[in-house]
Amino acid sequence: ILGGRVSRPGRWPWQCSLQSEPSGHICGCVLIGKKWALTVAHCFEGRESADVWKVVLGINNLDHPSEHTQTRGVASVTLHQRYSRAVVDYDISVLELDREVEITSYVRPVCLPRPGQLPMPDTYCYITGWGHVGNRMPYKLQEGEVRLISLAQCQSYFDMKTITSRMVCAGYESGTVDSCMGDSGGPLVCREGDGRWRLYGLTSWGSVCFSKVLGPGVYANVTHFTSWIQQQIYLRTYNLD
């Protein structure tokens, strides 16, 4: 996260780290149920096999796991059938954990939006992750406040890339607060009126965040995929896929 700040442990209990040896943290992910997490499809390019991955939850400092940390293997990875590497479209995947997590103050799921339910542009939301902060990769989870941007306005920042309805943009023209390499798959969450946090985006792509080319970040539009996510979980749970 560029322009963010270190997050307090437990503040984002749905944030998880998708890791694979020998590199460790590769992408962010988001807990949406006791046995289910979301991340983006591009994290699995070249590494689609579930058994090379693990999901670490309840962690703040990647270098110092605490007693609140829970680690799970990955039982299955479901990439969206329409995922396109070329335009990074349909950039979403569902992770099935090898066993349920224990719900604690530090590990608990975020709410999914209803299909098509998206806050208005200019709503302020939060992004989190262990991605690049501009001069280094941080150990501690970072958080940043970003503003949702309409698709039309977002397209104007990316003259040579296609912004589709499967994407949602958030950030600032100046790129002051933005997600960055290593944040992919992590959450863009907005607080609802009832105090609950709902997942609207998964960090997907953007400009080279610490270069001169700035602009907002582009996130997978979770509300577009709500039904798809529910179907994948249902099919896997009842062995119907």
Partner: protein, 372 residues
Amino acid sequence: CTSNSCPTGCQGNAPCDGHNATCSRCEPISLELCLNMPYNNTIFPNFLGHRSQRESSVSWEANLFPALVQTSCYRYLMFFACTLLVPKCDPLTNQRVPPCRSLCRSSKERCESVLGIVGLPWPEDTDCAQFPEDGGDTSCLLPDPDVDECSPSHFTCRSGRCVLATKRCDSHMDCEDDSDEENCGCVERGLWECPGDKACITHSMICDGFPDCSLKEDESNCSVCNDNELECNNHECVHRTLWCDGKKHCSDSSDEWDCVSLSNSSSSSSLSVSRSGGEYQVCVDGWTPQLSELTCTQLGLGLPASIKEVEESGVGRRRWLHVHQEWHQRNGSALQGVLEKRSHACASRKHVALECGSEDCGRRPAVRLVKR
């Protein structure tokens, strides 16, 4: 790869992917800008130091070169840019094939000054001396005289300038000659027009199981099923009696989607289960708390809050499903898989109504307050 040298398994000197300490290999080009190159495979790191196509696609250069193409400073600039961004991979040696020095020099001579006008530098790492001379010992790339400057995801203006395909026919003039707003019918553009919203979609999107028109016309009339069959989401036909029986018959499993619902039409939420394309009530005889839990979990809701047995009102003729006598043995089945049709009606004449909680989500632990 920490030393930037390669393990012996990489056949000595193939480029090394510093990310995962394995040998770099030829991979298909996915960079939107360069899909029109006369070769299909690339290898990383590229000549600009990017370690992956993803890094390349969001790089400063990937933004700079297409913008520069619009100035028409050099006809083969985009070809040159792509040889840097996604270098050709020789499948035999897993080695990058560089652009020829003359191509690099021509690009730089003609376009560097244009960049200078707006105060931007020519990209680093493009010292032409690093590339081989044409016709030398080392093979290098030169453009085909009739190479297409714009990639398939871009529209070529009459002037030759490339603009993003999504900007074509968007009612805004993007080409200086307005050619992006001419001939805007879907048919003229080789696309299919959605009857309702008049959006243009590619022919490959028709009947592919994903609705792309706002009124879903692209997914209608895709198959002709018999009267005793129902249409799967992917347009296969499956016999009605197999629909919502707990087993997959459509190859995409869509015969088992949305089989269970709670209707809020009455004061309590009656459980309704689809079977053979029709809606059924569930007889309470043999119903257990475990089945209530299965129902609420399957619906993506929390644990059951209340279970009611609702007396049949006697109005209309109800259809019933009954709990299978050996439902315990059908472990891991969805609710519709443990219910069955019987020839007789429900003995108790009561159907199941449920209230499910909502799954606890999206709450952060309360911040602890301490005395100061």
